[in-house]
């Protein structure tokens, strides 16, 4: 496994007025791994991933994607660069069908003058492609690709959002508390999806509050504390209690004991 990170954040700082949300935060995401980012409220998890996805512009520090320094101004820039984000708020349009949601904002056009002059969208082509994306992720519970998203359960809706990210994310996928709004069984579906993303070699950053879930799917766990990276551990090297202790500052981990290089 290569040692160069897909995505790297170096000394990222972000302040909102006098509140310092990020105080020189670092992060490395290696190819094919699931990196969980955990931390107490206000530890800077959300701000960090917003800086990575382009939703916020950092005050200082570098975001390096595949060895190139990035300067994202808008979420669209991050998306353009191949970073897809899935939000906890089930960001799908309920009345539109699954295929339309998968391609929302990136519709396929019909070939030839129908597409170029009349700007007709290729509905059947999108349905076909959507079906492939959905089945590639092993989401067997969705049978009809042209059914409206509002007829799906919360887990299935989130699956559609994840499938959308997987279909268009070239470099990596960020999942921002994807299970926060879901029940137990629905969360399980999403965790399965994360595993199938890893099987396909797609690097994933998972932001979560849910320790058991983090310990189940993550390869490495980055613990944020007071706007900085407190430690990076693995589910094997440390227990949930250790992680909580690091989060609250009750425990510190020596640099040499941390999992700063890829474990997969």
């Amino acid at each position: 496994m290569s040692k160069t990170p897909v995505l790297q954040a170096v000394g990222v700082t972000k302040a909102y007025g006098r509140v310092i949300a990020l105080d020189g935060a670092d992060l490395e995401l290696f190819p094919g791994e699931v990196l969980a980012v955990v931390g107490d409220n206000g530890a800077g998890k959300s701000t960090l991933i917003k800086c990575l996805s382009g939703a916020e512009i950092p005050d200082h520090g570098q975001i390096i994607l595949d060895g190139q320094e990035m300067s994202f101004k808008r979420p669209q820039d991050g998306r353009q660069a191949g970073i897809e984000t899935v939000y906890q708020t089930l960001a799908v349009a309920p009345a539109l069908d699954i295929a339309s949601n998968l391609f929302l904002g990136r519709e396929m056009r019909k070939p030839g003058p129908l597409g170029s002059i009349f700007r007709m969208i290729d509905s059947s082509g999108m349905r076909k492609a959507a079906k492939e994306h959905i089945s590639a992720l092993g989401i067997g519970t969705i049978q009809n690709i042209s059914q409206a998203v509002e007829t799906l359960s919360g887990g299935q809706r989130q699956a559609v959002a994840v499938a959308r990210a997987a279909a268009f994310g070239q470099k990596l996928i960020i999942l921002d508390e994807p299970t926060a709004a879901l029940g137990v069984r629905e969360s399980r579906q999403v965790l399965k999806l994360i595993e199938s993303l890893r099987e396909r070699g797609m690097p994933v950053i998972l932001i979560s509050h849910n320790m058991p879930q983090v310990f189940e799917v993550a390869d490495r766990i980055q613990v944020q504390r007071l706007g900085k990276r407190a430690a990076v551990v693995t589910p094997k090297s440390h227990t949930m209690n250790d992680v909580v202790a690091i989060m609250t500052g009750a425990m510190t981990v020596d640099k040499k004991d941390q999992a700063l290089s890829p474990v997969r």
Binding site: P75, R79, T89, A93, N101, L104, F118, L152, V184, M211
Partner: protein
């Protein structure tokens, strides 16, 4: 850590015990225009019992002519309501545009015969509609005011501007033939309608195509459905809203063209109540005031339903006040059905 102990699949549950009314709800949910079409068919059959002249081609031609203007305004109104907005200024924009066209082509009464070419005056009238729409769009997207308030304000402003611009007078000179085109009659088999009716139907076809078969159309629905989800999906929400208000402004100006054809003059005093008529047509046509749900052809059906009720009740000898009451009942019925449908899958 919150852990739910029970969790069952609500949709599976739903399918297991779907009653007739639930199935009905689901069907209407999928095809929102269905209920309005049924109302139209039932109403037409009922009225034909009261007067044998009702269900005749000539009577239906008349109804279509009567609804051509409201139908045309309802196209733009539908677009705006699909984005969960509303436009109270549509009638004012239509009058503003029609007065702009008429005044520019005829010149000011003080200086006789200094009018512009119709090929400048007509596009200028459309431009007035587009600009008025752009002002509404700007206030909604940039100043972030609710569409209801914005258009309530601009409704008055556009009316005031029109009255200032025309000093409240009706342009007295003969209109150029081009502006009257949409008042000409054509025979289509047994039907004899104005070209304005055909023009209105053409507007529906063009916008229905755009809504159904282009990315823009999907985005209009997505923005009305869930604006945050649309934004997170990478849609430039403000650009979509802006385009909707501008396109709607142009449709109102085109409706003004039909108005001029029908009444052969441009008057600053007619059409102020077009806004409520157009909203009525859209709502009866099954488009949800909460956005994201409905079809544009539903609004055409809605406009025709209002026309059919007015005409049918008149032919049946029903008092005008009761006609108004019937339209009122119809609106409340349509919105109740919409609410009921929306509850279906929540």
């Amino acid at each position: 850590m919150s852990q739910e102990t029970t969790n069952y699949d609500a949709s599976a549950e739903f399918q297991d015990r779907a009653t007739f009314s639930q199935k009905m709800q689901a069907v209407l949910h999928k095809y929102p225009w269905l209920s309005s079409t049924m109302v139209l068919v039932v109403a037409s059959i009922t009225f034909s019992f009261f007067n044998e002249n009702f269900l005749t081609p000539s009577n239906f031609s008349l109804i279509l002519q009567q609804v051509a203007i409201v139908g045309a305004v309802a196209t733009g109104q539908t677009l705006i309501i699909l984005t969960a907005g509303i436009d109270l200024s549509c009638g004012a924009i239509a009058i503003f545009s029609s007065m702009a066209m008429a005044k520019l082509v005829q010149g000011t009464p003080a200086v006789e015969g200094d009018g512009l070419s119709i090929w400048i005056a007509f596009p200028a009238g459309l431009l007035v509609g587009a600009l008025a729409g752009a002002i509404n769009g700007f206030l909604v997207t940039k100043v972030k005011l609710p569409p209801f308030i914005v258009t309530l304000g601009t409704f008055n402003i556009f009316l005031a501007l029109t009255l200032t611009f025309t000093k409240g007078t009706v342009p007295a000179n003969e209109m150029p033939p081009f502006l009257l085109t949409l008042g000409n009659y054509v025979n289509l088999g047994p039907f004899r309608v104005t070209t304005g009716v055909l023009f209105m139907i053409a507007m529906y076809i063009v916008l229905a195509f755009a809504l159904r078969y282009t990315s823009w159309g999907r985005h209009v629905y997505a923005v009305g459905d869930d604006i945050d989800a649309a934004r997170l999906a990478g849609i430039s929400v403000n650009r979509v809203l802006m385009s909707v208000y501008i396109v709607a402004g142009v449709t109102f100006a085109l409706a003004a063209w039909i108005v001029i054809g029908r009444v052969t003059v441009a008057s600053p005093n007619t059409g102020g109540d077009l806004n409520l008529d157009a909203i009525t047509a859209v709502v009866i046509g099954g488009t949800s005031l909460f956005g994201g749900r409905g079809t544009i052809f539903g609004s055409l059906i809605g406009a025709v339903i209002v026309g059919v009720f007015r005409n049918g009740l008149t032919l049946a000898g029903v008092d005008l006040y009761f006609q108004l009451m019937a339209i009122g009942v119809l609106i409340i019925f349509a919105v109740s059905v919409d609410q009921w449908i929306r509850k279906a899958r929540k």
